[in-house]
Amino acid sequence: MSKVVAELKYSAEHEWVAADGSGPAGIGISAVAADALGDIVYVDLPEVGATVTAGETCGEVESTKSVSDLYAPVTGEVTEVNDAVVSDPALINSDPYGAGWLFKVAVAEEGPLMSAEEYAAANGGEL
């Protein structure tokens, strides 16, 4: 079973948000989504300084078999992008909540987010 991390919040589009209110929020995609996509080979991320809007597309994730839009789970300015994951997208499969994080946002407003329990109940996955 794919892992769901208890301390994170999740969007319906399978992004996770690490926001403790003490700075920009880290954003990535859940293990449930990474497993469903298969081996990820390419990722297109927003640029530092760009404004992303909750619920709107801000990039894409491509696996060997398909391509999926990446949705912003929050609204705000992108403060940092994970260059390591751009050069080695397989990090999203191997460590979706760690080395496979995607970008950070100075959050102006959160989109509709779920708790880990709610996300696991809706999508499967193991807390």
């Binding site: 080979v41 390419y42 894409e60 491509e62 060997t64 391509v67």
Partner: protein
């Protein structure tokens, strides 16, 4: 659509497969990582369950003459023991299926259609058999098919074949088949072994009764563990066959398409003295220059960027739509995106730069000769 399970379903579940529907069958898509499975087939070996494929025996005094009539190729010219890739076409030249036929005796062939087409092909063969002294028997339901593909395939297989029969395997040529003793569940059984496959690698396909399929699967897994054989699913089968430039029915081949546009003109034997279904239409298509001077032609496209084209994406020349992608994805072996596409013939010269419309952004691709990948021999 009915849901069929192969005799190896429990083996796949045990190995942690995720499943997908393919031609009405629940088939393993991948076990752990489709990329790891892809590389295993290129570098060591992979084990595939192909039991969803059809198996139809055609036998009787007119078997060869009948297949000459029913299929586009000249099956009567195939030597006993050899196999031939062919097409079964409609009257209008449209492709019903691509299939492999093994000649097992002067008067006996095994015809292997694709999963989703097996019923239709068996029915078309039965219908076309009228007037021929021939029996058409669909044994798909009782027959499993297991493939071991990759550079170590031969060595793995030999561990299950009695020493006295090793030469039957090592001397077996590509696109040929032989009955050989293979150890299954502790007993040596005579099974039909074919040196064919759909991965671009050396390898074998083994026809086995359903009740012995699990035993053979386990035996091959055990025999291949050391050289790195792993079970391989449909996801890597698709990336492997795409790299090898092999068409997939439903993507590159269809009833609406024709063999000349698909680059399969050499498979059509217009020189056959006898008539065959689709001959008149195909002769007309060829005379009109289908796939050479008119219409569209199937080409290989090599991505110059990192993003991959996908099935049905438009192909552009100077912003104008001149084709459509039929299959595409990043090539795990080559490290760049590859695609097959039907493109207006005037833009199919290798070296031509085209673009694929990737969800609104045009990305450059170069026309290249197929296959993308060819193994070293």
């Amino acid at each position: 659509m009915s849901e069929n399970y192969t005799a190896l379903y429990e083996q796949h579940k045990k190995a942690g497969a995720s499943f997908t529907d393919f031609g009405g069958w629940q088939m393993p898509l991948k076990y752990e990582s489709e990329l790891a499975e892809h590389h295993a087939v290129r570098n060591a070996a992979g084990l595939f369950d192909l039991s969803h494929m059809g198996e139809v025996w055609v036998s009787g005094p007119d078997a060869a003459a009948f297949l000459d009539y029913a299929l586009a190729g000249k099956l009567s010219a195939v030597a006993v023991g050899k196999a031939k890739y062919s097409l079964i076409c409609q009257e209008d030249g449209g492709i019903i299926d691509d299939l492999i036929s093994y000649r097992r005796a002067e008067d006996k062939f095994l015809v292997v259609p694709n999963a989703g087409n097996a019923v239709v092909v068996a029915a078309a063969l039965a219908e076309r058999a009228a007037g021929f002294d021939v029996t058409v028997e669909d044994v798909s339901a009782e027959t499993s098919l297991i493939a071991v593909q990759g550079p170590h395939a031969e060595a793995i297989l030999l561990t299950l074949v009695p020493a006295g029969q090793h030469e039957l395997v090592t001397e077996l040529k590509y696109y040929a088949a032989v009955e050989v003793g293979i150890t299954v569940n502790g007993a040596v059984q005579d099974l039909l072994l074919a040196r064919t496959g759909y991965t671009g690698e050396d390898g074998f396909e083994i026809y086995v009764p359903n009740e012995d399929a699990a035993g053979l699967w386990e035996a091959l897994l055990e025999a291949g563990a050391d050289p790195g054989l792993i079970p391989a699913g449909l996801a890597c089968r698709d990336s492997l066959r795409l790299e090898a430039g092999m068409p997939l029915y439903g993507n590159e081949l269809s009833r609406e398409g024709n063999p000349y546009a698909a680059g399969l003109g050499p498979v059509v034997s217009l020189a056959k003295e006898s008539d065959f279904v689709g001959k008149a239409a195909l002769a007309e298509l060829k005379a009109a220059g289908a796939g050479s001077t008119t219409g569209r032609k199937l080409v290989g496209l090599k991505g110059l960027g990192r993003r991959a084209g996908r099935s049905h994406y438009p192909v552009l020349k100077d912003g104008k739509v001149v084709g459509e992608v039929t299959s595409g994805q990043p090539s795990p072996t080559l490290g760049y995106p590859v695609a097959m596409a039907y493109v207006d013939v005037e833009f199919t010269e290798p070296g031509t730069t085209l673009h694929i419309d990737l969800r609104g952004k045009a990305e450059p691709f170069e026309v290249v000769a197929l296959p993308f990948y060819k193994r070293e021999k």
